[in-house]
Symmetry: C2
Subunit: 429 residues, 2 copies
């Protein structure tokens, strides 16, 4: 089965005519996103649907406030302005939330992917534990929903990014070693916490941070539009988000992307996973900081606050060329390049993106990474693969959490918020 | 964009209503494949199309001799037998052809995937060079087409498997180091050679051997139906065929799957690629044979005939526990397991399949491979990943070449053979 296949059952398990309708609504939504402002006739021609079908679908999408008429037709020569269609950017919002070792980031996007809201707070999820973390996350979400920037919008859902192995179907964090979480029903807990005291029915999706980050890079980063990308998270752990022809690779059980535990050096340094010579033990942020700022980093688990501070100090020391900090970063960069070469040799992406805390350390990591990538990767002649630094920084995974909800809507896999739009009954489907 | 998306342009660059028709024809074909024998009404219900649309599509597919009426309805309780639909297995055939270092394999499948024809010949493609190899391949194809087993069938095309980097769009072999081929326009040359002296218009597709082999395993091997699989070719080179959710991963430039040149041991043995410690240098068939049968394998490139013989001798020696042959295979198996672990950690497939010459050597390779895979792979608790031996053996890639043509037809991406069916004009589209 190829990437173009629509399964007979259609999206979201619908069957028969309902699936066709849901698919067609999504097709029209995507087509308008691509061509807007555009007329119904243009949509019909591009989507391969009849004009009368498109008119009926557009009416439903306008009623649901996903599309609206009256796009800025100034730049166009044809069609009456009043009949032009565009995405209704004032109606709904998608929320993305990342929990990581030392911070929470919340981002909200409108239906065009524009950022409406961004909040980054220091938070030690490992010390707090799952329960207190869920409370803090819910607080952040309900605070955002009450903010004037989001008030009055329909909320598509909350997409949560977690640094670990996630069962996206059930929203369960199976194992997030760097948070110390195992078997946490995050989706259900967070959904319940958000719905109290004010009852709310907001879907919560949970996914891996690297996977969501690479989806964000593909949509919004400076490599936006590239359909084959690899993203390395720069946190305590090193995970890979992998996009092949625009589709995220998660693996059969959601255990894909574990580049951090690929062995690059047999008999190398001991990794937190118990093995030796893993990429994470050679070039993860914690491994770097234990060498670049040993005075700040004590033995035992690295606390969130210490981590952020040690990164800042490492940047200062590298800038001032203190001690052997540049050499430490050069070596780590080299191992990152060798890890990237494994990904390039297997997946042949257009580019490799370093994210998270690799971004501030990038000036000292990237040169060695590109050298080693060049030596170890097999690529077409004249097409060297570059190592890029993410421009989405610590917001990438949260943006991806929000973007994945918009994408689900685009693909007919997501229902609209209950009671949306508020003024009239939602159109029958 | 997700796996379910149908691009607005539809298959094969068609636009608008034509694309919809082509998509719908393919949907009906796939639905009948899945449900056969089945009635038009069942197809309509399963595919989400109206009965009148399905009737029109079925009429065209019957006219084209892809479907027929009169399936064996004995096992079914409903419907009149005469109205049941099934795939017409007597009408067309798809040909697959693998060229490798020491052999050519040709396989032909009917539309249900049943093998009609299988021929394996020893052939030294490296010594012959591209031109003589194309002649020999064309001879094999035209010989098969004239065989009573295939005569009278419409030929969907020839899918050619090559151990190297292939531009599938143009049918060009960009670099097949173990054949010594670089920049060979194989698709065009073979197409021309097949069309002479008797004019024939048969599409030739060229793809990577590992990619085609994993597609065959997913369709026909003992793991058939598993949508996440990894296949390692056991030839002079070691390539990975990778399937994620049923979609083959080729990479942005078709350079994916180069597991053979992932470095597993810095400063390890020198590889033919010039690097050190590549999987291919540690556990490729040539690396194994130079240790297990040094008396048969001289310096310099390994000839095809020597390779096949040295594999047989190695099997004999391992069976008789001669010298250190079992230890050589045990060590190579361990490196294969570590290479497999890289694939499992990144892609999380359901299983890893060893193909080609790894199959006869399997009894001595697999135990060590599974031990190392278990030690180095991160998988869900209780879900150890196994190392399987291909049951398709040296036919896997050729079968995949044929299967990919059937798949293209199923997806509306392939035209029927010119002048097919011969008796009447093909239905207008």
């Amino acid at each position: 089965m190829g990437a173009n296949e629509v399964t007979p059952e259609g999206p979201a398990g619908l069957s028969g005519q309902r699936a066709v309708r849901a698919n067609n609504l999504a097709t029209v939504l995507r087509t308008v996103r691509r061509l807007a402002p555009c007329s119904r006739a243009e949509v019909a021609a591009a989507a391969g649907l009849t004009k009368s079908t498109v008119s009926s679908l557009v009416a439903e999408l306008i009623e649901r406030r996903l599309l609206r008429e009256g796009g800025t037709a100034a730049a166009r020569k044809i069609g009456r302005p009043g009949l032009m269609l565009e995405i209704d950017e004032d109606s709904v919002a998608a929320v993305g939330l990342e929990v990581n070792v030392d911070y929470l980031t919340l981002v909200a996007l409108d239906l065009t992917g524009r950022e409406l809201f961004n909040r980054h707070v220091e938070f030690d999820a490992r010390a707090a534990g799952p329960e207190a973390s869920v409370s803090r996350m819910a607080e952040l979400v309900t605070g955002a929903l009450a903010d004037p920037l989001l008030a009055g919008r329909g909320i598509l859902g909350v997409g949560v990014a977690v640094p670990g192995l996630v069962d996206a179907t059930t929203g369960t964090v199976r194992n997030a070693p760097n948070l110390g979480w195992r078997g946490v029903g995050l989706g259900a807990s967070l959904s319940a916490a958000i719905a109290s005291p004010e009852p709310r029915d907001i879907p919560v999706l949970v996914d891996n941070d690297a996977t969501l980050a690479v989806l964000a890079e593909c949509r919004d980063g400076h490599l936006a539009g590239a359909l084959d990308l690899v993203y390395l998270t720069g946190e305590v752990g090193v995970g890979a988000g992998m996009l092949a022809n625009g589709v995220a690779l998660r693996g059969a059980s959601g255990y894909g992307g574990e580049i951090g535990h690929v062995c690059l050096l047999p008999d190398g340094p001991r990794c937190a996973c118990g093995r030796r010579g893993c990429l994470e033990a050679l070039a993860g942020i914690e491994a770097i900081l234990r060498r670049s700022a040993p005075d700040l980093v004590s033995d035992g688990p690295l606390s969130g606050a210490t981590l952020a501070r040690a990164v800042r100090v490492t940047v200062e020391r590298a800038s001032a060329d203190e001690g052997d900090v540049r050499e430490v970063l050069h070596r780590a960069g080299g191992w990152l390049g060798r890890g990237a070469a494994v990904l390039v040799n297997l997946l042949d992406p257009r580019a490799v993106i370093l994210g998270g805390y690799f971004v501030p350390l990038g000036p000292w990591l990237v040169p060695a990474a590109e050298t080693q990538l060049g030596e170890h990767a097999i690529v077409p002649a004249g097409e060297e693969r570059r190592v890029h630094l993410s421009e989405l920084g610590l917001s990438a995974a949260a943006r991806g959490g929000a973007a994945t909800l918009i994408q689900a809507l685009d693909q007919g896999r997501l229902e609209l918020p209950t009671g949306w739009p508020p003024a009239s009954a939602a159109g029958g489907q």
